[in-house]
């Protein structure tokens, strides 16, 4: 990166423990609101930016993943620390700014001490000074600066107080630095790290006992002066070793042994349902928009392969990417609020025990929950799991979470199954499907865990040590920015792939029979087009493929036409419904589509035997197939990228798709055995 830029621009890296206000500072200095995510593993990513121009500093600012210490233990930590010493693209930082929570000096000073020992040029930034001031205390910058022999600046992230001072200090450092100089940095590596840790912490304790001093009364807002003074009385020996009182009170309920889990289930239940209920109208809107756009193109241009490439290929493909954006927005918004408030870490703690029973980790929970919206952001979210095996296992299991793309398929098949006068049955059935999907993914995870050593070939002891941050009111602007960036990341990552596969499938379903001959008598223009589409599909490459897999479809009571729809569903699962409509020559549009499709399905017969194709047994079988099958090529591509190889994605496709087939076979034939056709 540095190569592309001006080589002479100094490199400033922000380093700090998790929850130390590092990202807030990055946002303040960069002027652009980015939010960092801890990215352990082969996919360590950094946000970089030039320092905001009105600060008049010409330097490249890099935000690094939060680390506790400079001594790496896992492979993932090693990558993060190594890149700090000499990033392959960015080089060695000319200056390191390390953020330290001023209420937690006794823990957070470890990192700056290690950084200084390594020979880095360090500025310490004290954050959360407002929280400390409420306790009637402040940190003496002078004493700390002398004790550590480096510059110390206090800032208040909310009021931006102290930023000017920081800029001044950065400037005075940069004046002394020549970017071209070679830096004498020695990787922090002590022979006896344990003894060293104990000694370092002893030194820190000595410093901490000196640096806290009471805030002068005139500095305190008079309105709260009385309150502050009361605290002052009993905090004369403060060394940052007391917990936040409000947090303790809230945790008495939220981490209560009984109520805690109930609240957790409630919060997660609400999150889960809102992914669907709030997003649904927005998703319909996006869907409608692209359907209209499609119709617009078809109506206004000469019918030909190019028009269809634009309408069915590009527009529908883009639509199938964007239709999930509302869901992802809402998911990230809620998760962002929960994370920023401090609850998400507690959720991970509450669910750790049950998940560890099947070889997962408390930190697997959020990625798995995200999987119910879409597997792609879910797999990316798994990066926060430090243990490599658990991270790969989480990614492995995510496709079993019933993602929202399967919902239209379930909806259609449920509508087919239930009697018209009992619509409430559909809700129960859908609930049952999700329950079945959750239970079966637990069972599958349990079985796969037995073979985990062979599949993931990653060692490392399972660990769950997680700081539970103090509760605070979430910063809405930061959450919205994070939501925006995550959604953008989803579109940029998944978009090109989904679009690409949509185009390939469009090709397979469109060629070679470009101009089909159909009976046009007595039909409207729209109907003719639909009949033509159906005719085209019937003699397409996709149909040929479908006929090849006919032998596989017969044992589960289906024929090649469902096979074609299943193949099309590889672009995105919801395409299944529209391809089914095409294969069964449904000629009417929009609102009537589903009811007409239902009628066509009721009348459909297996060509060779003349038996009814869509029986209760085969419909339930199809639902079961969709619960297990991994038939989303975008997921496969993201899985390859996140796991750094083809092994896991290929295993996922083979295992989940054969499992789907097996379960469908058992379901269909089992139901038939009991006399249900």
């Amino acid at each position: 990166m540095k190569d592309d830029l001006d080589v002479l621009v100094p490199l400033i890296t922000l380093v700090g423990p998790p929850n130390s206000g590092k990202t807030t500072l990055f946002n303040l200095l960069s002027g652009k609101n980015y939010k960092t995510v801890n990215y352990p593993g082969s996919t360590v990513e950094y946000y970089t930016s030039r320092i905001l121009s009105n600060y008049n500093i010409k330097a490249e600012l890099v935000d690094s993943p939060g680390i506790v210490s400079l001594v790496p233990e896992s492979l993932d930590e090693k990558i993060a620390v190594d890149s700090l010493y000499s990033h392959p693209k960015l080089g060695v930082p000319d200056l390191i700014i390390t953020t330290i929570d001023s209420c937690q000096l006794s823990r957070h000073l470890l990192l700056p001490k290690q950084l200084i020992s390594s020979g880095f040029n360090v500025i310490i930034v004290l954050t959360m000074t407002d929280v400390l001031a409420k306790k009637g205390l402040r940190v003496s910058e002078n004493i700390l600066s002398q004790a550590l022999n480096c510059d110390v600046v206090s800032i208040n992230g909310r009021s931006k107080q102290g930023i000017e001072n920081l800029i001044h200090v950065i400037n005075s450092h940069l004046e002394l630095i020549k970017v071209t100089d070679t830096k004498k940095i020695s990787p922090y590596n002590s022979l006896d790290n344990r003894k060293d840790l104990i000694d370092t912490f002893k030194e820190i304790e000595e410093i901490v006992n000196e640096v806290y001093e009471p805030v002068k009364v005139d500095e305190i807002n008079l309105k709260v002066a009385n309150k502050e003074l009361k605290i002052l009385e009993d905090s004369t020996n403060y060394n940052g070793f007391t917990l936040d009182e409000i947090t303790l009170k809230i945790d008495r309920v939220l981490l209560h042994r009984f109520w805690g889990f109930l609240v957790f289930l409630l919060v997660m239940g609400l999150t889960f349902t809102s992914i669907f209920w709030i997003a649904q109208p927005l998703m319909d809107l996006v869907d409608q928009l692209f359907t209209n756009l499609n119709t617009l193109v078809v109506e206004n241009f000469e019918p030909g392969w190019f028009t269809f490439l634009v309408s069915d290929g590009i527009i529908s493909g883009t639509g199938s990417v964007l239709v999930f954006v509302p869901q992802i927005l809402i998911l990230f918004l809620i998760l962002g609020l929960l994370e920023d408030s401090g609850y998400l870490a507690r959720g991970a703690m509450l669910i750790d025990k049950p998940l560890s029973k099947i070889g997962l980790n408390g930190r697997s929970f959020v990625p798995m929950l995200s999987g119910f919206a879409c597997a792609i952001p879910a797999m990316i979210a798994a990066r926060t799991i430090p243990n490599r095996k658990e991270r790969l296992f989480t990614i492995f299991i995510i496709p079993l979470m019933s993602c929202s793309a399967r919902l239209p398929v379930y909806a259609l098949l449920i509508a087919y199954l239930i009697p018209r006068d009992k619509p409430w049955l559909g809700g129960i059935l859908l609930g049952g499907i999700y329950l079945f999907s959750i239970v079966s993914s637990i069972v599958v995870a349990w079985i796969i865990n037995k073979f985990s050593k062979r599949i993931f070939s990653a060692e490392g002891s399972s660990s769950f040590i997680l700081e539970l941050p103090s509760y605070r009111v979430p910063k809405i602007s930061a959450v919205i920015n994070h939501t925006y960036n995550s959604s953008k990341e989803y579109i940029l990552r998944a978009g090109p792939m989904i679009l690409g596969f949509s185009l390939v499938l469009w090709f397979l379903t469109f060629f070679p029979n470009i101009n089909p001959q159909v009976e046009t008598e007595g039909l409207t223009v729209e109907q003719i087009q639909n009949v033509e589409r159906a005719e085209r599909l019937e003699h397409s490459f996709a149909a040929d493929l479908g006929k090849i897999i006919q032998p596989f479809m017969s044992p589960i009571g289906m024929d090649w036409r469902i096979g074609v729809a299943l193949i099309s569903a590889f672009a995105a699962r919801e395409v299944f419904v529209s391809s089914l409509a095409l294969t069964f020559k449904v000629t009417s549009e929009d609102e009537e589509e589903q009811s007409t499709l239902l009628n066509s399905l009721r009348n459909a017969k297996i060509e060779t035997t003349g038996e009814k194709l869509f029986t209760v047994a085969t419909s339930i079988g199809l639902i079961v197939f969709f619960i297990f099958a991994l038939q989303c090529l975008s997921t496969v591509a993201v899985s390859r990228k996140e796991t750094g190889g083809w092994k896991i994605p290929i295993l996922q496709v083979v295992i989940f798709t054969s499992l789907a087939y097996l379960m469908t076979f058992i379901t269909v034939n089992g139901l038939r055995f009991f006399g249900i056709q």
Partner: protein, 73 residues
Amino acid sequence: MRTAAELNYREKGIISEIDSSHPSSKRIMEHGFTPGQTIELICKSTFNDPIAISIRGALIAIRKSEADCIKLK
């Protein structure tokens, strides 16, 4: 010798040593669990595991199997 995993609800203890044979021992120490520090068990998860321990003014959730290597005086 008792360990942090055996603390009762809201019970305090002083760390005597960290069992170095445990693979997580370094990570535990980096979070501030060092000999001489006072810790307190703040709460337990529904399934009794992990537990939340206060150390140096922070609340750390930790599995019992890992808290077991924090030996108390």
